[in-house]
């Protein structure tokens, strides 16, 4: 099912727009909403390169203070007060960052996502819905 889900996501995003940014925004939004229990999700984005992606996420609010955020995108060298669950964009970072609950990256032309069950548990988070299949106990 998860392969079908990802495949459908790819097809859907291809139909919507050819833009990679839009495609990435769609997946990130899915990842964030599948983890969050509340409707209004606040994110802090450290990497300015992700600003355009964030503008395409309709149900996510981008805020300027990381300590008020529910999630952080692309955390790197964050202060102590910002130790919030992160979504990272590199598999090595995902393996080594104790705050990285999820990872999204491209490999061989394929969008790849993973959640760490241990870290999700640490933050009291659960991945629901169709992305639950991407939770791995190995990381």
């Amino acid at each position: 099912m998860k392969t079908i889900t990802l495949f459908l996501l790819l097809v859907l995003s291809n139909n919507l727009t050819a833009s990679d940014k839009h495609w990435e925004a769609l997946i990130l939004e899915k990842m964030l909403t599948s983890m969050a229990a509340k409707k209004e999700i606040k994110i802090y984005v450290q990497d300015k390169g992700l600003d355009q992606v964030c503008t395409e996420m309709n149900s996510i609010s981008k805020i300027n203070y990381c300590d008020q955020a529910d999630f952080i995108l692309a955390g790197k060298g964050l202060s102590e007060s910002c130790k919030k669950p992160e979504i990272v964009f590199n598999y090595d970072t995902f393996k080594n960052d104790p705050y990285a609950v999820g990872v999204f990256f491209w490999q061989k032309g394929r969008p790849t996502i993973r959640f760490s069950s241990k870290r999700l548990q640490k933050f009291g988070l659960q991945v629901g819905g169709e992305l639950a299949k991407f939770v791995s106990s190995k990381n």
Binding site: L6, K108, P111, T112, R114, K133, F134
Partner: protein, 385 residues
């Protein structure tokens, strides 16, 4: 009226043109579709051969992997870094230019796929050992379950053409999959070159249609203009221009001329006015036109003079035909407002027209016969000797 005959003639030509358009369009269309079908079939056959070639290669490779690890592929690859490096070298050896990505993946107890080997040497794009692999499409699972190679066609992708999943089977169980993204560069090159031919047929198709539409419109316009130039606007019979420019060029080997004059037409004009005269002229022309055949021609030769051109009539038939014309005109008075005007005609006929004879002479004999009819008291038919 003459309109009907001219329209019939124009319609006949147009039908011929439309048939021609349809033939050209059909030929171009059949050529275009046939070419594209052949191209599609050829491409499919080429693809099948390429896929078969890859299957053979991966089959040999999977055999080597299983043999070299003594049927403990996963364990050996996981623990032996040098072996992994060796196996990746093997992948690079069989990686031809059309293969974009060539790797080996496996599946863990969570049913998540991860990379074991990758032929890519670029640290930026290379998948690290045990890095997650998200399969797009369920053919990877199918390959795992069926132990049969699977092919996925990326029809809308710009970068990939097909993905092949080939199982590495050990003791009757699939332990890993060889994955290959085969680039469509070769196929694109062939298709791009062949596309020019396809475009050529398409252009012929489009241009032929456009050309014939233009021809159709131009013909309609020309026919209309020509038709207007050869028609007498009052009676809608042909005029003298038609006689000399068209009819004289297509005279039959033997033909007949009937010169017709409305008796005492000047009196009609003088008594009832020119409007009444016009009505008489129009009505006489209409009645004459109804009695002639499609291949005959009715021409307004002068003020109240008409000329009928016929073919394939002998002297007796000419006389009988002329009598029918005369009687038809005489039978019913022509009505103009409250006036009933009894009109008669005199007819001079020359049944001996020949292509070898000067037309003016044939016409003159018909005119002389008409003169005789008038001399003999009008409302009669005289046939030239």
């Amino acid at each position: 009226m003459s309109h009907q005959k001219t329209n019939a003639s124009v319609s006949k030509k147009l039908i011929q043109l439309i048939i021609l358009v349809l033939i050209v369009f059909s030929v171009a269309f059949v050529s275009y579709t046939e070419y594209n079908n052949t191209l599609k079939e050829t491409t499919e056959k080429l693809n099948e051969r390429i896929i078969k070639f890859h299957f053979e290669t991966f089959k040999e490779l999977s055999k080597i992997y299983v043999k070299d690890t003594h049927k403990h592929f996963i364990e050996e690859v996981k623990k032996n870094r040098a072996l992994r490096s060796n196996f990746e070298d093997m992948l690079r050896l069989i990686k031809i230019s059309t293969i974009q990505n060539l790797f080996v993946i496996s599946r863990d107890s969570d049913q998540n796929y991860y990379f074991l080997l990758d032929s890519d040497t670029d640290p930026q794009t290379r998948a690290t050992f045990l890095e997650p692999f998200n399969p797009l499409g369920n053919f990877w699972d199918r390959c795992y379950a069926s132990q049969e190679p699977q092919v996925f066609h990326h029809k809308n992708s710009k970068d990939l053409w097909i993905t092949i999943a080939y199982p590495i089977v050990e003791n009757g169980h699939t332990v890993a999959l060889i994955g290959a993204d085969v680039s469509h560069n070769l196929d694109v090159n062939i298709q791009t070159k062949l596309q020019n031919f396809s475009d050529f047929f398409l252009w012929i198709l489009v241009l032929s249609v456009l050309w014939f539409i233009a021809l159709y419109v131009a013909t309609l316009y020309f026919k209309r203009k020509m038709y207007e130039g050869y028609i007498d606007p009052l009676t809608t019979a042909y005029n003298r221009t038609y006689l000399y420019e068209i009819l004289m060029k297509k005279l039959a080997r033997e033909y007949q001329l009937f010169m017709i004059d409305i008796d005492f037409f000047k009196k009609v004009n003088d008594t009832y006015g020119h409007d009444a005269g016009d009505v008489v002229l129009r009505e006489v022309a209409q009645r004459l036109d109804k009695l002639i055949r499609d291949e005959d021609s009715l021409i307004r030769y002068g003020g109240e003079e008409f000329l009928i051109y016929t073919t394939q009539l002998n002297s007796q038939q000419c006389f009988e035909f002329a009598e029918r014309l005369r009687e038809n005109i005489k039978a019913e008075p022509i009505r103009y407002k409250n006036i009933e005007c009894s009109v008669t005609i005199s007819i001079g006929c020359n049944p001996y027209g020949s292509k070898n004879e000067v037309f003016a002479d044939v016409l003159k004999k018909a005119d002389e016969a008409l003169y005789m009819a008038k001399v003999f008291g009008r409302d009669c038919v005289k046939v030239a000797k």
